[in-house]
Each structure stands twice: as structure tokens, then as C-alpha cells.
Subunit: 260 residues, 2 copies
Amino acid sequence: MDKLSVVKIGGNVIEDSAALQSFLTDFAQMQGSKILVHGGGKKATAMAEKMDIPVQMVEGRRITDAQNLDIITMLYGGKINKNIVAQLQNLGCNALGLSGADGNAIQAVKRPVKSIDYGFVGDVVGVNNALFQMLLKGGYTPVCCAITHDQKGQLLNTNADTIAATLAQSLSQSFEVSLWYCFEKQGVLENIDDDGSVIETITPQKYKNLKTAQVIHSGMIPKIDNCFDALANGVNEVKIGAPKMIAGISQHTTLTLKDE
Amino acid sequence: MDKLSVVKIGGNVIEDSAALQSFLTDFAQMQGSKILVHGGGKKATAMAEKMDIPVQMVEGRRITDAQNLDIITMLYGGKINKNIVAQLQNLGCNALGLSGADGNAIQAVKRPVKSIDYGFVGDVVGVNNALFQMLLKGGYTPVCCAITHDQKGQLLNTNADTIAATLAQSLSQSFEVSLWYCFEKQGVLENIDDDGSVIETITPQKYKNLKTAQVIHSGMIPKIDNCFDALANGVNEVKIGAPKMIAGISQHTTLTLKDE
């Protein structure tokens, strides 16, 4: 099977234009088929403020009303996505931007209202594998923003980590997929205060031990759980680290089902 | 050769949500391969005002500075494009939104500064025919916003009429292309005050006569000239009329090189 890298970058890269430029230079040079997934970070909040649109938070979670969805569509789907694509084109990477609505790339349902109504937020239910296969085979690099659709005309704000994991899982039917999560640390750290204490490999057994020893705890647990879910659903490996890891010149943590 | 319809809609359709919905319903039902090209109308000016961004006009022409380009990218490439795509998906049309940067779809150069510096405005220099052929063959309907790129990382605001004409000309190498310009009139009128006086067909000879008789004059001449340029460069026919013409149930004007 051909190899495919699905790379997710978050707000810390998007918001720093030098960091973004450096990342895109590395990304353009990654060999083989690849997909970029990006969020939008805090720019949406700043723009909502600028436009006098209230940002509603419930229990620390942002609610996506119609006006905030417009802002997300303009920023993530427009400004951020198109500028990333244009920069990658300049770097020799034939990037092509997609929301989940484009070519029915990523289908979702509006999150059902239980205790909280999150508004226009999507839970992913499907991926148009044929579209991604056609684009990748044609030499194009899909650049996906964190927006999906419900196939009934409604765009939906969607978690970028989830989009990356779902794409990776879905495309593992046809590719040997590596899923790369770029964040502000060098990887999962043995000691949170020591950037040099990156744990190289985490297997299911090691994960159990790290949780018992409380090296991995609280907010990190659901994230790592999601990574192991992706591995259980066909993804070959998950890599967590700083953006420089994609150039192969920085440490990172590899999650794998294969025991050492 | 397979048939291809390239349909351009302008601000009058984009700005009226009922008109847009009606148009998209008709567009989704058009048979055969098709491409939609849309501008953005006056929404960009309204949004610039809302965000306290000055809109500079020189000799009645809008200047696209960096801030206004951002607005255009957010609106045309983001909000308008993605909502059109999502609505078409709901109508059973597998739409896929593109700026000129996506997949290097439409290449341009920044307009050279002569007497006026228009800012980040693009003059189209090339089309990635292979991309459009791949998408159309795959059953996708490209939806192009009026943004191109210079292949060096710069997005460029570009006239939607020109994009439609250039796409039509370029793809006439592989398709029998009809180019449809939707605007607020039923077609080219014999008598500007009589909406029923639509001229059905204009050939080069008839065009000459209409100019001599001053039925076609002033601002209409460069537009019609551009249409005949497209015909001279391989486009099969150009149709000018109200959006309803694409459903085949309203009058319109057909421009053709074939004398009656």
C-alpha cells in the first residue's frame, strides 16, 4: 500500500506567521501523499470582537451560533485556507483547499442537544474516500479546514483533531497512514517541566503504565485515547510533537499498537 | 466532444438569498458537465465598512489593498463559496469550491502599474485544464470564486466575467463549451425600456449593424466584444440573460459566430 501522511496543525502555528511559513516549507518537502488539516485558533474570537459579534461560552465551551459560524467560514474556509494553499503552491506543493462540503469531502451531523446546545457544531459521520483518492492520485495535496456539512445545506464547525483522525482512519483502507499531531511541545513528556524528557514510543502496555504512574493524566488522557482509537481503526502510527518533527529533525512521541 | 456549461452569476443574484436559492435549484438541474463562477457583489464594501477598513476608489475603480483582499478572500472564497457549495450539495449537485490557488486552478499576474495602481488585482494568464477535466470526469461541479493567484504565494482579486470567459476558452480544447452570463436583464434589448425586446441572436454581422444603429453602445460594447473574443477563441456559444435562462424557460440573447 502507498504511504499517506495526515498532518494536523493547530492555532499555535496558524497564529504565528513565521512559524506557519517554517512549517509550510517543511510540509511542502514531505515525501509521498499527504493531507494537511488546520484549525483556526483564536483568530475567530478576535474577529468576532472586531465585528461586535458576541461569543457565547457555556461551561468553558464555545457555542457556534449563525454569526460565529459565518466568521469561522470566512476565516478558516476563506482567509486561512486560501493563504495556506497559495503559500504551498509557491513552495512547489500542489495544494487544494477543501471544506467538508466541497465534493462532499466530510459529512457530519449537527451535534444533538443534550445538556448543552453547541449550535452549528458537527460530529463527523463519513468521508468521501473516492474524492481524496482521486486528488492524491492526481498529485494534489488536500488542505482541509475544520468545517464539515450535513448534506442538507448546513455548514458545521468541527474539531480539527477529529477531522484529522477520521480522515486517517477512513483512508487507511487504501493507504498505510501516519497521523501527525503538531502542537507546542516536543511530544509527550516524562516530566512536564523538562522539554528534553520526550517519551519516544508509547504502546498500549506502556500507556497503561504511564497512566498508573500519573505521568499521563487529566486532559491528556482523552487525547491519547483518541490516538489509540485511530490505531485500533487502521491507522499505522500516530506521531505527536512540535511542527519541526515533520522534517525529521526533532524529537517526537510515536504511538503504536506494536509492542516493542 | 462532451458538452460543458460555464455559468457566471453576479452580485444581483448573490445578494438576494431567494434569487440565489432559485438559481441554485435551476443550476443543480442543468444536464451535463458544468462550472459555476461567482463574484461577490457589494457585500465586500459593506463588510469593509463594518470592519472600519477604508475602501479606496480611483477614477471610479476599486483599489484592492491588503486589507480589502483579506475581506474578499473571506467573503468570496469563504462565506459565499462554501455556502453555495453546501446548498448545491443539498440539491444533489456534487459541487466543489475553488479559488484560482486551489490545485493551481487559475494563474494570474498582478496587474502592472501604469497610471493607476489597482493593488492586488490579477490578470489571468493560465488555467489548469487537467484539474478541471479530472474533476468534471469524476462527476464534480467546480464552483469558482473570483480569486486567482500569482504562483508565488499571492492571492489576487480578479474579475469574475474574465474568469468565466478564460475558463470557457481554455476548456474549449476538450469540450463543446456554452458560456452563460446571468445578469439583471432578460438579454440584450432592442429597446432598453422594453424588457420584451430581447434580441434572440447576435452574429458578427448583426453586431456591426446594432452598433451602427446605436442599439448597442457605450458600456455594453466592451462586454459584447469580450464575448466575441471568447467565440473567436473556441467557445461554441455565449448566452446572456436572466438567471432563469439556465432552466430554459426564459428568453435570452445568444451570441454566435455562425451567420444565420
